[in-house]
């Protein structure tokens, strides 16, 4: 892990991955645990965020519960056409994330749209634009995740 982090920073990063209480002073319990003032906690969180060690502080929403549709999609793109196909795929605002992966299916992207119908329509458009098949892997079930990064 990164060397420039102090012990306090590490404890704070680990602690901030827990759920904070919904109260007027959400930093009070952390401040007490770490023997800091609440203002010191707020300042440190801001510093960690500004330094890019924390990406975001706030509520984490279940994207699907907010409405809208999501779908993981994959394409097998010939190497020599990769950049051209990428430009065409990314041109669709519905494509939210896109990753190159080392597999015959080498382009994996997530579409985020208002409706399920928009997902299928966008996939057909991408197939039309590129002449390549878009495989769709909609989520059938999500399993509970207990992930934490130990700073």
């Amino acid at each position: 892990m990164s060397q420039e982090l102090s012990d306090l920073d590490r404890r704070l990063i680990n602690r901030l991955q827990d759920d904070l209480p919904l109260t007027q002073r959400p930093f009070a319990s952390i401040a007490e645990e770490l023997s800091l003032t609440e203002q010191e906690v707020v300042d440190k969180v801001r510093q960690l965020r500004d330094d890019g060690l924390l990406t975001r502080f706030g509520p984490f929403f279940d994207a699907e519960a907010l409405g809208g549709a999501f779908c993981l999609c994959a394409m097998s793109v010939p190497e020599e056409r990769f950049e051209d196909v990428l430009t065409k795929v990314n041109a669709h605002a519905e494509v939210a994330h896109n990753y190159q992966r080392d597999h015959a299916l080498n382009m994996w992207f997530v579409m985020a749209t208002e409706t399920r119908g928009d997902i299928i329509r966008t996939a057909r458009e991408i197939e039309h634009d590129t002449g390549l098949e878009v495989l769709m892997f909609p989520k059938k079930r999500e399993y509970f995740v207990g992930f934490r990064v130990n700073a």
Partner: protein, 162 residues
């Protein structure tokens, strides 16, 4: 759950993050023109209903040394996949765990688990632990490392259509 306009306003006001001040909800309530007690009550409800998963910070994996991520994929017996999926999701190094449809014959895998680590070797070692958990229920598996981020945009709630 159905979100009423006030809920949607709260979500829109907080999805980029909370203000980093001593009393962030006081500031958000003022911005929205509602009482802080109502804001807290509504947030509590959104949490109960699963719209909000938690309130806290997201660490930057990359800056904290978790530079390798592998999408591990598994062909698991349909009658066992849900029980096993819960166990794999609970592993501390799995960030996402989903059951998805197969795309035969090219893609026989129905269980997807994203595994993070400091190196590819570490990701491989963690993948072995998933394989142990799955045992004979798993017929085939693969691991796909990401080699390049091609696009990354925040997913935001869009304004309601008029």
């Amino acid at each position: 759950m159905t979100l009423d306009p006030k809920d949607r306003a709260i979500i829109e006001a907080t999805q980029a993050g909370l203000p980093l001040v001593l009393q962030p909800y006081t500031v958000v309530a003022e911005t929205l023109g509602i009482a802080e007690s109502e804001l807290l009550e509504r947030l509590e409800n959104l949490k109960k209903n699963g719209v909000i998963r938690r309130i806290g910070a997201a660490p930057n994996h990359y800056r904290l040394g978790m530079t390798a991520n592998g999408m591990t994929v598994w062909d698991v017996d349909d009658s066992l996949v849900d029980d096993l999926g819960d166990k794999i999701g609970a592993l501390p190094f799995v960030t996402h765990c989903y059951r998805r449809p197969r795309a035969l014959p090219m893609w026989p895998y129905n269980l997807f688990a994203m595994v993070h680590g400091a190196s590819r070797d570490e990701v491989h070692a963690k993948r072995d632990r998933v394989a142990e958990l799955l045992g004979d229920a798993c017929r085939a598996s693969d691991i796909l490392f990401s080699t390049r981020i091609l696009k990354k945009t925040g997913m935001r709630l869009r304004g309601q259509k008029g």
